[in-house]
Symmetry: none
Subunit: 181 residues, 4 copies
DNA sequence: TTTT
DNA sequence: TTTT
């Protein structure tokens, strides 16, 4: 079947990267995607103006996102909808819908203070040989820096070198003990 | 921002149509969209092979879907991701992610017994007069029957003759606030 | 059938607006969309790195594009592929492929000198009554200014930048089973 | 940048497969994609009802398409727009726009007489180990047979048993420079 | 809870 | 030049 999603929105927070026990990088963030007709037409009031859509990226793409995306940045995401479900502590089945991204395009240059300097942002940061991702698919490149899924974990899992106390207050120093699996 | 989804999958059940208190038709169904590499590659076993994605349609498109879609039918859906949330009876916030469809394409002719005869399936069942609508965007038409969002309720609200109480457990808490237009 | 295109690229020149004899606005411009892997991988040289894709917009959207887009601006376009053909002066049939846009998102604020000031750029600039476009489709709005064919005038874009998923107690239970590859 | 196209339409003819001098398989076909509102609304007459969009596939995907697609078949294509140009024999620059497909989904089973039997149609015919493609992206699988770009020539290059001289008039001037990877 |  |  076919399952394709394209979003443009802004990160609600800095992305969060983890490693699975097997050492695979996973980065999650939420994209705030403004709805059309925000404001509600003729003068009506609408409570919600945006959809907050959880994004998940894996491997090389996860690392690039963790390194170059920041809260508030305008970002394009291409991927597919995934619906997971699990049983919660009350024995109730909970459904989680996320977009598994295979392409992420950084639409804003990012003159912020934290994170790698923007000049360092890769115009293309694709993967290695086994790259599973959309290379030929409509990928990225050029201007504002960009990133594609691709490649095995490949070589160099880089550290998250941001100040763990910056910005959102939540500690980013996660050990694998914190992983829920 | 931009928010676009295109899916091809099969209905897990017959669609369910309701009317809002204001008389607006809403139809919901779930699309089973097979994941790539189902089967798990070299011989691995994967328990789940598909994503089950809830689809919501409104107005004329809702009626056409209720009339012509049936369980198992191969169907293309175009729309946007919407994330609603509400407080459940335990005071906990629940997030519901759905695809609000503005285009639905019937990819299978449907020789089944229930529902209107397939010959009756509209090659195009769009909306009102000036509506170029969702429609306009990548619309449907031709071969197997097709339907576009757009237009006023238009014409003939036909009855949903299935059991209105045959819920699937999940609350159908769609209010007119969810009307995307 | 279904026909949907989403592009992000930069204008190669200022847009050109015309009016049809019937007084309908048409605006054309070309989007330079960088190809993936520009540069040619390991050190290869490739002469051309982008596809130059002609875009056509109509009516209200045409006017907004003519007013707010300028050469070099990063722009997202949503629409459909149209293939026209005509007989040229040598009696030869010529095929012209264009993207008929129904949604255009201005991804850069535009501090340039010509054109209306950027502060004037509409966060949403929907169309008039004959609007044929994707109003309900997952359009645009917000951030950098944006435009959709069709729709209501739109109103008071409010900012909701909070993440409803922040610290909501939902476990981040992504396991390696979720690896899509 | 981002460049993504999704089409559903019918093949106007059987696909044509070639090999480049380097032995890379290339398959081309044209998709007839019905326009929305064919017929022209209120009673108007419209001469053209569809867009005829040239599709190009490479490598393993090319071979699968050549083997399993046939004239008239309803087909979904995912890919990107590519604009090539060359100087023709009169020294004039000619622009050719094609969709480079990385995912092709066979929406009809195909009970026709020619080509491999439908039972032989692969539910997934992805590539080999190095496959960079669509794979993870929202690919295909299941029901009606399906195919993704990816992988080396892989496996079993089957023969093209159609007349190699049955051209359609348009020069097939695709060189390996057009290889998108 | 699920489709082929 | 075109598909159903």
């Amino acid at each position: 079947m076919l399952n394709r999603v394209i979003l443009i929105g802004r990160l609600t927070r800095d992305p969060e990267m983890r490693y699975t026990p097997a050492g695979v990088a996973v980065t999650q963030f939420t994209l705030a995607v403004d709805r059309p007709f925000s404001g509600g037409g003729q003068g009506g009031e609408r409570e919600r103006e945006a959809d907050f859509i959880p994004i998940v990226t894996w491997r090389q793409l996860a690392e690039t996102c963790a390194n170059y995306l920041r809260k508030g940045r305008l970002t394009a995401v291409e991927g597919r909808i995934q619906v997971r479900n699990y049983e919660n502590n009350e024995g109730k089945r909970v459904y989680v819908t996320e977009v598994i991204a295979d392409n992420v395009r950084f639409l804003e240059s990012g003159n912020r203070d934290n994170g790698p300097r923007d000049e360092g942002a890769p115009s293309y940061s694709g993967g290695g040989n086994n790259s599973y991702s959309g290379g030929g698919q409509g990928g990225f490149g050029g201007g504002g820096g960009n990133s594609q899924g691709g490649g095995r974990t490949g070589g160099t899992p880089r550290n998250d070198n941001r100040d763990p106390f910056s910005d959102d207050g939540r500690p980013i120093d996660i050990s694998e003990d914190d992983l829920p699996f």
